[in-house]
Symmetry: C2
Subunit: 342 residues, 2 copies
Amino acid sequence: MSSEVTLKHIAEALGVSAMTVSRALNDRDNVDKETKKRIRNKAQSMGYTPNRVAKSLVSRKTHTIGVVIPEITHAFFPEVVRGIEEVAYKSDYQLFLTNANEQFEREKEAIETLRAQRVDGILVSSSLTREDYAFYESIIEGGAKVVFFDRCIEDIGASCVSVNDRESSQKITEHLILEHQYSKIAHLSGPQKVSIGRERLQGFLDAMNAQDIPINEDWIVQAGFREDTGYEAMWSLLQNNAGNLPQAVVAVNDPTAIGAIDAIRDFGLSIPEDIAIVGFTDDIRSPLLDPPLTTIHQSAYEIGEEAAKKLIQTIEEEDTEIEKIEVPTTLQIRSSCGCSYD
Amino acid sequence: MSSEVTLKHIAEALGVSAMTVSRALNDRDNVDKETKKRIRNKAQSMGYTPNRVAKSLVSRKTHTIGVVIPEITHAFFPEVVRGIEEVAYKSDYQLFLTNANEQFEREKEAIETLRAQRVDGILVSSSLTREDYAFYESIIEGGAKVVFFDRCIEDIGASCVSVNDRESSQKITEHLILEHQYSKIAHLSGPQKVSIGRERLQGFLDAMNAQDIPINEDWIVQAGFREDTGYEAMWSLLQNNAGNLPQAVVAVNDPTAIGAIDAIRDFGLSIPEDIAIVGFTDDIRSPLLDPPLTTIHQSAYEIGEEAAKKLIQTIEEEDTEIEKIEVPTTLQIRSSCGCSYD
DNA sequence: ACTGAATATGTTATCGTTAACATATAAGAT
DNA sequence: ATCTTATATGTTAACGATAACATATTCAGT
């Protein structure tokens, strides 16, 4: 990519100094109107494009934001990215997108690279599953501007945008208890190192406790976030509890629920008659499933918007407060929970 | 983002020159082993991150690729991006992602910005209509490395990666004719300004002509690319041809087909008994539809991979050939065409 | 012991832009 | 006519890394 035309070239062509050209093109006022016009015309005709690399070297700002997502195929993250994109575009920031593919090693590398690129800030939805905050602690300590979204790492000095996972999880669990009188409820939980894994489990427990329902530890199984891990977790739950099956399952997210649905079917049971199930996320496929999946609808776009706004604020203003921003959810009732829906 | 530690800092801390530090960290061989070790340890302990901005200024390479997509919500593009990401990651390139939101003005701006960022190359799926080459011609003329994907602009000196739309469209139409003996076939076409709209219509016509089936102009209706436009187009087709309905419909893409299915149902007809329908794209929802949609499966991931490979090759090697790369499609038979499928 | 090569290090200039300071010219005030 | 002040422009250095060239030091070969 070689635009090649530099300030110097323009300066030489017009017999002025590079500085004057710089001033003219940046529309400073202490440049003669005539000269300014001449310079700008020349710049135009020579096809000048300012070199942001050089500019960044001087200003120590790149006007770029790094985005690290753990996954790009399922609809949620692209939608978040769209929200980020929109806000970034309006504030004239460019986006560096990196997909960590659910591997923390890649996430780390991505962030190293982004820092080497001197992005002004980073938006992360972490794939971290181990107890290893050290990496984030050190980069935040080192002055990096970071805002987490959806999958947050808390109490390490960074803001975070997500839905109120705990409350939403409680809400959907209570729907099962109060509307359908289920009391034997299982939970396919996410990794406990990831905030949404913990929060959603907590919400589930809150609902059970609030309704005085005893909790069966055997029915709380660690599933990942994906379809295949959901299938496996559900399958082992069914196997290990053959004599005492739950009436309903709360899955940590929709892909997990989708996998679980297959497992339940393969086990020879029907949904929601034998086992009801609910998810979380409202995946684009969820209304089309058989039966359509009852889930928590979260506005991915809005999460993206809020995260980008907060990050840009953190970049541009001194001493911005560290916040935990919650984007509201809605309960999306369909029929996998036992409700009728069309 | 301030890593702050520079070569100079390390140099001062150790009483050597910055150049020696640079050499040591880049693992050049003419540096004393002991010194190298000392320098590397120090760099590590001081938390040094090389500044790519400065590096780029010297090398005139940024090791970044700009990606411009017209849309990010539709599952297709995120999947393409994943393919690009994977190849870029392996070759150690970073991605600048921009979403033009189907607006050519934004696409242009995005590209200007990417060039100012001095990306090494750009991957574009254009929202541009055919009439307006000039912009791309001039930047390609100016030495920009560009590879188009999916929505291509041809014959302007850039490579292009896409699916063989025309042939694939013919293939799926012929499936309706040869396997199901339909002869009364309608086409919900895409906008004729967009290459895939034109190509797919052509493929449809090719199939009809090859099998000597007369074409009924009333059954060729312009639909957009979206669900809502698909619904409208199908609805008006049904209304306007109430006395003489087609037996089957070829839709320009899956969202259009999804809209059309609703329209057919709302009109009181059943699928595929009264009217069969096929799509193009293989949307993530298509196997879940009722009935599951027969369509053309295009490997978005592979399109991304090929495009990224070609671009990196164009960047790194002199005089790479300009190619039109076609990624094969497969006919994804389900039951909306009248086949049985489970 | 002396030359030539190899090894290890330092110095200077450069990439393109801009901040900070310096200078020249014109216009206004006394 | 001289001194300010404002306006317009130029010069230098810096951002951080590195290529190109320069200089020490060591060591083998004769």
